[in-house]
């Protein structure tokens, strides 16, 4: 009963449910009761990492080499452990600078360079559009197989069908519609797409349930538990060899390690992962729970891969059934219609989730970092002078969405069963891994320059093209195969899979080794050889020191020029719409403590605020161009900034000196005051002493005088009496002398000259 008239309505109903969830999510967001503001939804939406390539392809890979698929999921687990350090920083930077895409992030770090933004966009589009094609292929493939029910066909290879009767084409259009409806509601792209994220989280749940259902069915329905499957596999000639596959079928330990590292980087830098993890992040505290919830999701997704693969290989022994389809064909072979339909829906959810998010991320980049800068620079379009650019911007973004999806569809039609499409998963990973040095280096190393990032990205991308993409074209027959086997023009040393004679590695390991060497090498070398401009320096500091600067948009970087408030208001109004521009300005005025926007001075802070607000709508590089056109800027030269810095540091040094001096003065005053007090005390003591001594002096003096007067007045005194009085006078004068000597001694003591 699984005719196309059953499958198609069920699929449409499923997409209808997605629409309903997205609508509900958006409505809740408008009411301010966010549906997605919790870590569980955040962790589930990260599950967009698991695409149809995971859903169908993991089993295929496991059937071929046992555990070769696992590094792709262990890598993200390891990366999650580093998220608290790395991703939290990226999220913080992105929120402070209103960054809306990976291209925007990299270009903002390097002085808002439009060139870098363009290059990142090109790499992302070239690397990822074939990956979108792979998803469309998976859906079309699984549909072709399911529709043959109850017959299990060998492969899902399709007859060529005209575009208009191709289900994949209509599905692509449906997905583009969904993405446009829920991905381009507002212009300010830093306002997140809440409904869309809710739908993606739901899709993650559906694919997990579908995969677990088929895993349980194969393990406990067809076979008798895990032990039974492995016991039977041990007796199977080829599968027994996969019991210890490392170093053999699954590749060397080196390629295992490289694959883990590659998937760690891809998990960070695939445009869809950046979109979900950074741009759509509601609250950076959600990272905490996601750090262990998401790896748990990956673990659950992979538990049954090997049992299903081994079970399929044994079940279809002798039949030419493509292992990539085991997930679907095993339930079909066992007449489980409902389960087969559930699996198809699970695959559909894996593929559509990836296509939707990847398309949003790519279309934002294409619009903001490729189309807008060109339009704004072309004087002939006079685009910058239009009154309201919001509709035009939305139009470009919607056009970009349709273009990306259709590009994916036509690549799928063109490539079909070609190797270039089948192997694209890891090739895409290697392409986006090229963003890692410029991004990670950029947030930890202030010295990384624009020229360095440009050179690194360019070199890495070129090596990737040469060692992975072109060979995949050659294997597909689009280039002469001699390019691979003898090297271009027969030059053996340039063979793409054995560059400079480096043999014995698999293609991904070989390409990663060379591209990362070229990328990191030129990035570092050019960075240390070139100088940063002022704008770059300011941005570098904003990025690297983001945790030390908590000033938000009140934190202003050096800027010199003249601006007028009406010009800036008009500029914001043209891109954001007048009401939103007014609301944003009023909010900023309040934060700075002004009653109304009109009262604000048109200073560096306001110009920077306008630029950041615009960056949310049209990307950092385009915002730079627009603001530069609206205000009169004097370029700050390095010398000026340096002299400003010198001046500032001199003032700081002088004030420090002053502080030290005044402290010394205070100390000296205190000492003086203490000394003075001591002196006064001494003085008082001397006075007391002198009055006492004077009193003492008076006694002998009085007696000398008295006896002298007696002798003077009575000349008739007898000799004995006279003798006696004279002796008293001598005695008293000796006493007087002694007293005076003592006073003199005391004076000597006081002046410190006593021996």
């Amino acid at each position: 009963m699984l005719q196309s008239w059953v499958i198609i309505p069920v699929s449409l109903a499923y997409v209808g449910v997605l629409f309903a969830i997205a609508r509900y999510g958006d409505r809740r967001a408008d009411q301010g009761r966010s549906l997605i503001a919790n870590p569980y939804i955040y962790a589930l939406s990260l599950g967009v990492y698991a695409t149809a390539w995971t859903f169908y392809g993991s089993v295929g890979r496991a059937a071929a080499d046992g555990i070769g698929f696992l590094p792709i999921y262990i890598g993200p687990t390891l990366m999650m452990a580093l998220w608290w350090l790395v991703l939290r920083k990226i999220v913080r930077i992105s929120k402070a600078n209103r960054i809306t895409s990976l291209a925007d992030f990299v270009s903002s770090r390097y002085g808002k360079s439009a060139l870098i933004a363009g290059l990142v966009t090109v790499i992302a589009v070239v690397g990822v559009v074939p990956y979108i094609a792979l998803q469309l292929k998976a859906i079309s493939h699984s549909f072709t197989i399911l529709v043959q029910y109850p017959e299990v066909v060998a492969t899902g290879a399709r007859e060529p069908v005209p575009i208009l009767s191709d289900t994949a084409f209509w599905l692509a259009l449906l997905l583009a519609t969904f993405t446009i409806l829920f991905g381009t509601r507002h212009l300010d792209a830093s306002e997140r797409h809440e409904g869309l994220v809710a739908a993606i989280a739901f899709e993650s749940l559906v694919k997990l349930v579908a995969f677990l259902a088929v895993g349980l069915f194969v393990t406990y329905g067809i076979y008798d538990g895990l032990a039974d499957i492995f016991a039977q596999a041990a007796a199977h000639a080829r599968l027994a060899g996969l019991f210890a596959p490392l170093g053999g079928a699954a590749g060397s330990y080196g390629s295992w390690a490289w694959l883990t590292a590659l998937s760690m980087l891809a998990f960070m830098f695939l445009p869809r992962q950046f979109q979900i993890a950074v741009v759509e992040n509601v609250n950076e505290n959600h990272l905490g729970k996601a750090i262990w919830l998401f790896p748990l999701y990956m673990l659950a997704m992979n538990v049954f891969v090997v049992p299903v693969a081994f079970g399929g290989v044994m079940h279809f022994a002798g039949l030419a059934v493509d292992p990539d389809t085991f997930v679907l064909t095993l339930p079909m072979a066992e007449q489980q219609e409902a389960l087969a339909l559930l699996v198809f829906i699970g695959g559909l959810s894996a593929a559509t989730g990836m296509v939707i998010v990847e398309t949003i991320a790519l279309s934002t980049m294409v619009c903001n970092d490729l189309v807008m800068p060109v339009l704004l620079r072309l004087k002939s379009t006079r685009i910058a002078e239009r009154a309201n650019l919001a509709p035009l911007l939305l139009g470009i973004r919607r056009g970009a969405i349709v273009a990306v999806v259709l590009l994916g569809y036509f690549y799928f039609r063109l490539a079909g069963e070609a190797y270039a499409l089948v192997a694209i998963g890891l090739i895409s990973f290697a392409a986006v891994a090229q963003f890692a040095p410029a991004t990670i280096g950029g947030i930890y190393w202030k010295g990384a320059t624009r020229a360095g990032a440009l050179a690194g990205l360019g070199a890495g991308f070129a090596v990737w093209l040469y060692t992975l993409l072109l060979p995949s074209f050659a294997k597909s027959g689009w280039l002469p195969i001699g390019f691979l086997e003898q090297g271009p023009l027969g030059i053996a040393i340039l063979k793409p899979y054995a560059l400079l004679g480096l043999e014995g590695l698999n293609d991904i390991t070989h390409a990663m080794l060379w591209s990362m060497t070229a990328n990191i090498g030129t990035f570092v070398a050019v960075s240390v050889l070139t100088r940063q401009t002022v704008a770059e320096q300011a941005q570098a500091a904003r990025f690297v020191d983001v945790f030390r600067r908590e000033g938000g948009d009140l934190d202003v970087h050096p800027w010199k020029g003249t601006a007028s408030l009406p010009d800036l208001v008009a500029l914001l109004g043209r891109f954001l719409g007048p009401e939103r521009a007014q609301a944003a300005l009023a909010g900023y005025a309040r934060r700075r403590g002004f009653a109304a926007p009109a009262a604000m001075p048109a200073d560096a802070g306001l110009v920077q605020f306008a630029e950041t607000a615009l960056a949310g709508a049209i990307g950092g590089a385009s915002a730079r161009i627009m603001v530069a056109s609206a205000v009169k800027e004097d370029a700050l030269s390095i010398a000026e900034v340096r002299s400003m810095l010198d001046e500032a540091s001199q003032v700081i040094a002088t004030s420090h000196e002053l502080k030290v001096k005044s402290q010394e003065l205070t100390r000296a005053t205190a000492e003086l005051r203490a000394a003075n007090e001591r002196l006064q005390e001494l003085d008082r003591m001397k006075d007391d002493f002198i009055s006492t001594v004077t009193h003492e002096l008076r006694t002998p003096l009085t007696s000398i005088r008295a006896f002298s007067e007696i002798l003077h007045d009575n000349p008739e005194l007898d000799a004995a009496e006279r003798e006696k009085f004279l002796a008293i006078i001598i005695q008293e004068s000796e006493r007087l002398t002694r007293l005076i000597n003592q006073v003199l001694d005391l004076a000597k003591l006081e002046s410190g000259r006593a021996e």
Partner: protein, 65 residues
């Protein structure tokens, strides 16, 4: 801030443990044609190590909040 730094450092330690567990030479020790609980040894080892890493991540994140 201090607690957040502490958490970051503990998570880096778990990362290093993960790198150790999922690479040569530890991986090679289990890459033998043997079984544990009816499951080939290397598969059982990888999934157990994986669960261990997730458990440690959960412990670090949840305990320090």
């Amino acid at each position: 801030m201090l607690r957040s730094e502490m958490k970051g450092q503990r998570l880096v330690a778990v990362f290093l443990l993960g790198v150790l567990l999922f690479n040569y030479p530890l991986l090679a020790l289990f890459n033998r044609a043997a079984e544990a609980f009816g499951i080939p040894l290397v598969y059982a080892y990888i999934f157990c190590a994986w669960a261990l890493v997730i458990g440690l991540l959960a412990l670090v994140v949840e305990r320090s909040r």
